[in-house]
């Protein structure tokens, strides 16, 4: 045993890859600095703000509270995977339509948390949306516009299943 880099194999946004990571490298830093997927933001780096939220095997996870070596064999999804060949996803479009971001720092985490919610529950109540986003802090919007954007996305998905 040593603190030298170890080989890991994981799938990120549908691409299977092999990489080396020192044990102390956080999954968030691996995503940003090794994979250059800088959509995932690191705010507090101790699990309080939710900006670094990604999906790990379909479950929302704070990527600052997980080491890259722990993602061995996992499927990771970051905000970059939301975009479609046609452009922004319905969720992203509704964020824009409802002014659900200002500085944009929390937005990747908000989008991932909202995406996880809608994948599991396509018709959430407003309270369910608020609960699902409670782990994501936003200092600009006051949250209402974010909740409205998620509600609008849910309405859109119900009318036209993706």
């Amino acid at each position: 045993m040593s603190d030298e880099a170890v080989a890991i194999e994981l799938t990120v946004n549908g691409t299977r890859m092999q990489a080396q990571a020192e044990p102390r490298m956080l999954l968030a830093d691996f995503i940003r600095h090794r994979l250059h997927l800088t959509g995932t933001h690191v705010g507090c780096a101790h699990g309080a703000c939710g900006a670094c939220t990604v999906l790990v095997n379909g479950q929302p996870a704070r990527s600052c509270l997980m080491f890259a070596v722990q993602a061995q064999g996992a499927e990771v999804m970051t905000v970059e995977a939301l975009e479609t060949p046609e452009g922004l996803s319905p969720l992203q479009e509704e964020f824009r339509n409802h002014h659900a971001l200002q500085c944009g720092f929390c937005t990747p985490g908000m989008l991932i948390s909202a995406h996880a919610l809608l994948s599991e529950n396509p018709s959430p109540t407003q309270q369910e949306i608020r609960k699902a986003l409670a782990g994501n802090l936003c200092r600009c919007t006051g949250y209402n516009t974010i909740v409205h954007a998620v509600e609008a996305t849910a309405r859109r998905i119900r009318i036209q299943p993706a």
């Binding site: 045993m1 040593s2 603190d3 170890v6 020192e22 044990p23 102390r24 956080l26 830093d29 780096a45 101790h46 699990g47 309080a48 939710g50 939220t53 479950q59 929302p60 996870a61 704070r62 600052c64 509270l65 997980m66 080491f67 070596v69 722990q70 061995q72 948390s113 996880a116 608020r130 609960k131 699902a132 409670a134 782990g135 994501n136």
Partner: protein
């Protein structure tokens, strides 16, 4: 900040975990869900030389009904325990407490054993363990031993687990089917860190109470039983006057510390308010009493 360097090992079987702990002792730290440990590592408050990851280890993730108690493997995810039909039926207080344990991104990874072994003073499950007299099964090279919750929690982030040991199983006594259970807390914001909380277990017939356990968190370095309030409830039952007296007793028997989030006086007041609300609920009356 970033964590200090460490060696990482992910054993597949329990005997390997035991062997690694025997070898590395206090240089090693076991990681479960990581939702409490990794923040402390990121802030370099904790700098283990060796990290023993239980996430790949077989046989640590289960919920079993064994007569008088529910046994939880330490790696049972909190979200799984919270949704478990077995837990909701036989140990509803555990499920009720887990409703408060943080946002979904945390709860999906955080474990039943991890939060108990970490022993944060405002963590929910330790309060439930104190209320129900849960038993912690600790394992090390010398074998297994069972420690009751009252002896297990020894203060801030301190438990009866020795450096060469780890939490192997948690046993929560089964609640009586008609018992009243309730977990409530006050935090700075929804899904945020708790300021104060209360776990209630109560068996009664009419207004006569024959068993009650009240455990408060956020009033000391570990959860505490509200013994004076308990004995008042046992003597006087759940009438309006008795509830008022029990709440007053709870306020006076705790000795909380102030911190950034709340003064000692506020905590004292809130524990009484939470208790009153819970007891009124147990009596089946309107919470506006």
């Amino acid at each position: 900040m970033k964590p200090a360097a460490f060696s990482y090992v992910a054993p597949k079987e329990v005997p390997e975990v035991v062997g690694l702990l025997a070898k590395h002792g206090s240089d090693a730290r076991v990681i479960a869900g990581g939702q409490s440990l990794v923040p402390l590592m990121n802030l370099r408050i904790m700098q283990p030389a060796v990290l023993i990851d239980l996430n790949r280890c077989n046989g640590l993730d289960y919920i079993e009904h064994r007569g008088a108690y529910l046994a939880f493997g330490p790696m049972t995810r909190q979200i799984v325990a919270m949704k478990s039909a077995l837990v909701r039926e036989h140990c509803p207080l555990v499920a009720q407490a887990l409703e408060w344990t943080g946002p979904v991104a945390v709860r999906s990874h955080a474990t039943v054993g991890g939060t108990l072994a970490h022993a944060d003073r405002v963590a929910e499950l330790p309060a439930v363990a104190i209320a129900l007299d849960a038993v912690m099964v600790i394992e090390g090279a010398k074998g297994r031993r069972e420690v009751g919750a009252a002896d297990f929690f020894q203060g801030d982030l301190t438990t009866a687990i020795e450096p060469e040991e780890f939490l192997r199983e948690v046993r929560f006594p089964v609640c009586k089917p008609d018992a009243y259970t309730n977990f409530s807390e006050v935090s700075v914001r929804q899904e945020g860190v708790a300021v104060i909380g209360l776990a209630v277990y109560l068996e009664s017939r009419g207004e006569k109470v024959h068993k009650v356990a009240l455990a408060a968190m956020g009033v000391d370095s570990a959860p505490v039983r509200l013994r004076k309030a308990e004995s008042l409830v046992l003597q006087r039952g759940l009438g309006a006057g008795a509830v008022q007296e029990a709440a007053a007793a709870a306020c006076s028997e705790v000795d909380p510390m102030p911190d950034l989030y709340a003064s000692a006086a506020y905590r004292r007041h809130v524990i009484g308010a939470l208790l009153k609300k819970a007891l009124v609920g147990a009596a089946g009356r309107s919470p506006d009493e």
